[in-house]
């Protein structure tokens, strides 16, 4: 009981502590690919600490909701990220939310963040919010279609069960699985506001989405918003890792050694995921905002196709 509790707590701390490192790593790789020196690997931590120490400058028209939202967003994202299996599956509370609930929890966080964009009553906040919900209105259904496909393959929406099933190799290669992976990558890029959907490095472009929405935040509030986007990036890479590369994840009641292997492989997965993301982002340019629906529509159609194939093939 205590061991289970400790493992669950370790997972919560692990994702919280690793997520700024992942972002720093992606930034570093991107900089090196551009032949720049780049900021130090630990820069995101320093940024967070610096922001947390600063005073908050709050707009005069901001309401109480604006001040509460950073905590809601970080809490929702953090809980969602700690429910995705990282180094071990079947943790104590892993059953308290299945994949659909995790996606919905992220949806709650985004709902509040979009409200924050409208709270101060500026046009930048509005443009960010309205584009964010437009992107979400395509990305969320696409994600649910992916969940449907994977759930039909694994016979479960519980991430631990799904990871164990994928690890068992019973399914082998499936067309649906490939389509779902492709769609999931597109959704992950969109959800994390990465290139080509959005540019995380700037907020001085008219096509910006996420950064425009949080433009009015400062100090500790901004630190929390940044932390939650870092957590979200970690969550999606963990999710792809746990579903499509479940090697090394320790099962329930595994030994300490298995868990250690789990942690090492998890770190390796994060590194590979972050590296691929950086390469992809360097190789591609940003899209116009109204090209995004076509891009995400492709993810939705791929997800639907994958689900349809599952429905049809299950009867054969």
């Amino acid at each position: 009981m205590i061991r289970d509790f400790a493992l669950q707590g370790a997972q919560m701390l692990l994702v919280l502590l690793l997520s700024p490192l992942l972002t720093g790593f992606v930034r570093k790789v991107k900089a090196r690919l551009l032949r720049r020196q780049g900021p130090p690997l630990l820069q995101p931590y320093l940024d967070l600490i610096r922001l947390m120490r600063k005073d908050v400058v709050l707009a005069e028209s901001a309401s109480w909701l604006f001040r509460v939202i950073p905590y809601i967003v970080v809490a929702g994202t953090w809980v969602a990220a700690s429910l995705v299996p990282t180094f071990g599956s079947g943790l104590m509370f892993s059953w308290s939310a299945d994949l659909i609930a995790i996606i919905a929890l992220l949806g709650s966080a985004r709902f509040f963040l979009a409200l924050a964009g409208l709270d101060v009553g500026t046009s930048f906040g509005g443009i960010g919010s309205s584009r964010e919900v437009m992107i979400a209105s395509l990305a969320e259904p696409a994600m649910l279609m992916i969940v449907f496909t994977l759930a039909l393959i694994a016979g479960s929406t519980q991430l631990s069960t799904m990871a164990a099933y994928m690890l068992s190799g019973e399914e082998g290669l499936r067309v649906s699985l490939g389509l779902a992976l492709l769609a999931l990558i597109i959704v992950a890029i969109a959800e994390n506001a990465r290139i080509p959907i959005d540019n995380p490095a700037t907020h001085l472009e008219l096509t910006m989405v996420h950064e425009a929405m949080v433009l009015e935040y400062s100090g500790r509030h901004l630190a929390l918003i940044d932390l939650s986007s870092e957590l979200k990036l970690l969550l999606y890479i963990s999710l792809i890792g746990c579903l499509f590369a479940p090697w090394g994840i320790a099962g329930p009641d595994a030994s300490a050694q298995a868990h250690a292997i789990g942690v090492v492989t998890y770190l390796a997965k994060l590194a590979v995921g972050g590296f691929l993301l950086a390469v992809f982002e360097t190789a591609i340019s940003k899209m116009r905002v109204f090209r995004v629906p076509a891009f995400l529509g492709a993810a939705l159609m791929l997800g639907l196709l994958a689900t349809l194939l599952m429905f049809v093939s299950r009867s054969l």
Binding site: V56, W64, L118, R220
Partner: protein, 670 residues
């Protein structure tokens, strides 16, 4: 015995109606009528709860010597009726409580007070009716009383038009139901539900009854394309009545569908579910897309009712499919999902309409473009409205998510259905459901963000006052219910067990005993959700973060002007509006669905006229389905008008010709 008590309650409401006419002149009349309605609906609700939990004999019937002389009026409360009675009276009680405060601002109470208790009585009667005749009479009574409430403010021409269209559609719907019951009763006229249950109609007849029921009950519930009246009529009524119409009356319409299709029509065929699912999927997405294009707060909410009816239909359609293919456990899951959404939607939709009513009272505005910044002036209303927004957007940990989660779980069971049509339809419907959930969240970011957040766009919004304590009490009660049903859904699912048991033979596994109060629809390895734990985790994580940062880092705060990238503009007109917020979505979805066009008029250089951007939206369903019918009726009426100006000889010869033709037809027939 419960049914007798419930009938006494209905009688009390019916008596209250004429009393209200007398009372409406006095200043205390409003409080007396709504107070009495509150008491009666609370009692009715208790009776319904007791019946649902099995404290009454579901087979006990009361026959009153009313209605058809050889039949009488039958009333009964079985599990299904008990559940819907709970929904009706919960909505009725909260609306009455809200109206204790809200109704005081009514400037013509004599147009609202008498019809209000009568309307509540009618909805109670529809659910309790146990024969087709009393069902239809109550149904029509419900339509007429609600129509009277829709045109309560009859000096506004928009309301009169809404009332007219509502009356036409309600009559059309009742006609369809009348025909459906006529077919079910057969040639012998067995109008009692018992007799209908015993006789199984042939496949063709059942198909016809199904279509008529979807049309009849669906037009009242507002399924696309029969929804056109709903967004006109629901917002026109006073807000507590809007809440009843949207939150409760549409559920009574769902009751009609469930009663006929699951109970009276006999064992289902697999393709029945195709019809219900297709209607549900299209309704869900169209409803929310219409809502996104609105900037009238109450009309936006009304369109969301259309969307949620679609979600309920999806649950019911899946239940029909599973029932037809002999998968009772899955059918129980899908039916529970649909019925739980009935309950959930009635709670948060009432809450949202109350909030819209409070805003309307405080500012005199329904148009979101004239609101803004209300969270500063009406913090409590803003808070409860926000709870309603999160709940209706199907976000955890509130109740809307639970029922949609169950619907998704039911969809995930459907590959086992052997029928090929369903294999293609169900994933598509799943995608539509996911799309509607995501769009609903977008829509409520708009609704809440534009009306409550930002800066006040008009002086009315800047000077709004917080609403009264009765209204707030009603809204807090419903908001608490949203949370409780979201974090402890197991108890609500268990309460539905008798209903699913009576309709599909089994019920979902008992949930209240599951560890940590999770809900587990089938097996824990398959799927489980624990709203309570998720809520506690989020609460803990958030407060830990807040505590740690405030203690260890900084808790200082300064106020300053908004940053806005260095160019803040003091005019509130520079904020995003409802239509500019919806612009990206309008471009993505609206260009095909609504033929949305943006027409920019830019004056030539040097001209002093302002530049204009107008958006053109077309309601294709109205253009395709309603406009031609209206035109044809107008054309026919104009042509037939000629008959009014004939001479007496011509009239007599007309009668004679008609007689001859009829006799000829009769002769040929035999």
């Amino acid at each position: 015995m419960m049914v007798v008590y419930a009938l006494y309650g209905v009688a009390a409401l019916v008596v209250l109606a004429p009393v209200a006419i007398a009372l409406s002149a006095s200043p205390r009349g409003t409080s007396v009528v709504y107070g009495a309605s509150l008491m009666i609906t609370l009692t009715q609700g208790m009776i319904a709860l007791l019946s649902l939990f099995g404290y009454s004999d579901p087979s006990s019937t009361v026959t009153l010597p009313l209605g058809l002389p050889w039949l009488g009026a039958h009333f009964r409360i079985d599990a299904l009726a008990a559940f819907f009675l709970v929904v009706v009276n919960l909505g009725g009680a909260s609306a009455s409580l809200f109206a204790l405060g809200y109704g005081r601002h009514e400037h013509s109470p004599q147009r609202v007070l008498p019809f209000y208790p009568a309307y509540l009585a009618a909805m109670n009667l529809v659910v309790m009716a146990d024969d087709a005749f009393s069902f239809l009479v109550s149904w029509e009574f419900m339509s007429l009383t609600s129509w009277a409430l829709v045109i309560a403010h009859h000096r506004i021409s928009e309301n009169v038009r809404a009332g007219y269209i509502y009356l036409l559609m309600a009559s059309f719907g009742t006609l369809a139901l009348l025909l459906a019951f006529g077919l079910l009763a057969g040639a012998d006229g067995n109008y009692a539900f018992d007799a209908m249950r015993a006789s199984h109609p042939s496949a063709a007849l059942a198909a016809l009854v199904l279509v008529l029921t979807i049309v009849g009950a669906g037009s009242k519930a507002g399924v696309v394309p029969l929804h056109a009246w709903l967004p006109l009529a629901h917002p026109a009524a006073p807000s507590h009545v809007s809440a009843l119409m949207s939150g409760v009356m549409t559920k009574v319409a769902v009751y009609g569908l469930v009663r006929i299709v699951f109970d009276l029509l006999g064992p289902p065929d697999w393709w029945w579910s195709m019809a219900v699912l297709a209607v549900g999927g299209i309704t869900a997405v169209m409803g929310v897309l219409y809502a996104l294009m609105q900037h009238d707060l109450k009309r936006l909410l009304a369109y969301h009712t259309v969307e949620n009816i679609g979600i309920i239909y999806i649950g019911l359609g899946l239940a029909l499919a599973f029932k037809a293919e002999g998968m009772p456990l899955a059918a129980a899951l899908a039916l529970t999902a649909g019925l739980l959404h009935v309950f959930n939607h009635s709670v948060f939709k009432s809450l949202l309409f109350f909030g819209a009513g409070a805003v309307l009272n405080a500012t005199g505005e329904r148009d979101m473009e004239h609101l803004g910044g209300l969270i500063h002036r009406m913090p409590q209303t803003a808070f409860v409205f926000l709870v309603g927004c999160v709940a209706i957007s199907a976000l955890p940990p509130l109740n809307g998510f639970v029922s949609e989660w169950l619907t998704f779980q039911a969809i995930l069971l459907s590959p086992q259905l052997p029928a090929w049509g369903l294999k293609f339809l169900v994933p598509a419907v799943g995608a539509l459901l996911a799309l509607s959930a995501a769009l609903a969240a977008a829509c409520f970011v708009k609704a809440f963000g534009v009306s409550f957040l930002g800066r006040a766009r008009t002086p009315a919004a800047a000077q709004a006052q917080e609403t009264d304590s009765n209204s707030l009490a009603a809204m807090y009660f419903l908001a608490a219910l949203c949370l409780v049903a979201g974090i402890l859904p197991g108890f609500f699912i268990d309460a539905l067990a008798p209903v699913t048991k009576s309709l599909v033979g089994v019920s979902m596994p008992h949930q209240a005993g599951v560890e940590w109060l999770s809900i587990v629809p089938i097996a824990e390895s398959r799927s489980s959700y624990n709203g309570l734990l998720v809520f506690i985790f989020v609460l803990l994580a958030g407060s830990t973060a807040a505590f740690a940062i405030h203690r260890l880092a900084s808790d200082k705060l300064r106020r300053g002007p908004a940053w806005d990238c260095g160019y803040p503009d003091p005019s509130p007109a520079t904020q995003y509006t409802a239509s500019s917020f919806a612009q990206p979505i309008r471009r993505v979805y609206g260009t095909s669905v609504f033929r949305a066009r943006e027409i920019g008029e830019i004056p030539p250089p040097g001209a002093t006229t302002p530049a204009r951007l107008t958006v053109e939206l077309r309601d294709l369903i109205w253009d395709a389905a309603y406009a031609p019918v209206a035109e044809a009726i107008g054309y026919a009426a104009e042509k037939l008008n000629y008959l009014q100006f004939l001479t007496i000889r011509q009239y007599l010869s007309l009668v004679f010709t008609a007689l001859v033709i009829l006799l000829l037809v009769l002769a040929i027939w035999q």
